[in-house]
Amino acid sequence: MNGGGDIPLLTMIVDGISWFALVSGALLCVIGGIGLLRLPDLYSRSHAASLTDTLGALLIFGGLTLQAGPTLIAAKLVMLVVLLLITTPLAAHALMRAAFARGLPMQIEPPADDDASQETGT
């Protein structure tokens, strides 16, 4: 731009934010994958998977948008993020509803006699 080898300050700042978003999104995806593997129950596994599908995708596509700059590619990335934020919670909700209607048991039991224990315990 100005002939020298020095990078403009704004480019450095945008690159840094993009780095941070991409790496934290990838870390969040890995954490969600570990949760998907290790949590005891379908319903809690769904929590971990939905976390990667919304926040991880938002961070990664946000980092890519910062890399792309104000072009058509950024518009496509925004479309992709909007589509993801609409469809993945829908898919997760449909899956959990189907599993619950089929009667898949929960691993973590809710307290069965909540009112009685509250009355007698305190």
């Binding site: 890995v30 596994r45 890519l64 590619i73 993945t88 599993a99």
Partner: protein, 131 residues
């Protein structure tokens, strides 16, 4: 470099999802892992397009997102009703009129609704082994 780091993270996540899909005790675990795998494939296509300097691959990622959602809903419908086409709407309407759908929730406390719906047994879905 940063695209390489993001791609490494996404690949590790896809591997973990594959392990869950192989291990999953029920069909729903496998479906959850497959859905997550599809989303991660889409993100991998986008990031690798930027990595190779060809961001036009985002169109492929868009198509992947649409196909992933449609296939997810189709497989869920198949798992729930046992068929994709004939008489599914009739089955659902008949189930609704015969009282086979879950009863409406009444909030009787913080966990009351949950225990109520836990004790409810689906009349004809609940028999037989879990898929």
């Amino acid at each position: 470099m940063m695209f390489g780091a993001a791609m490494a993270g996404i690949l590790i996540t896809m591997l973990l999802a594959l392990v869950r899909a192989a291990l999953g005790p029920s069909v729903y675990d496998r479906l959850l892992a497959a859905n997550m795998f599809g989303t991660k494939t889409m993100m991998l296509i986008a990031v690798s397009g930027f990595w190779q300097g060809r961001p036009e691959w985002l169109d492929l990622a868009l198509v992947y997102a649409l196909v992933n959602f449609a296939s997810m809903v189709a497989v869920l419908k198949y798992v729930r009703f046992g068929s994709l086409g004939d008489g599914v709407a009739d089955t659902e309407a008949a189930a609704a009129t015969a009282g086979d759908l879950p009863p409406p929730l009444e909030s009787t406390g913080s966990w009351g609704a949950v225990t109520q719906i836990k004790n409810w047994k689906p009349p004809h879905y609940g028999e037989g082994p879990m898929p």
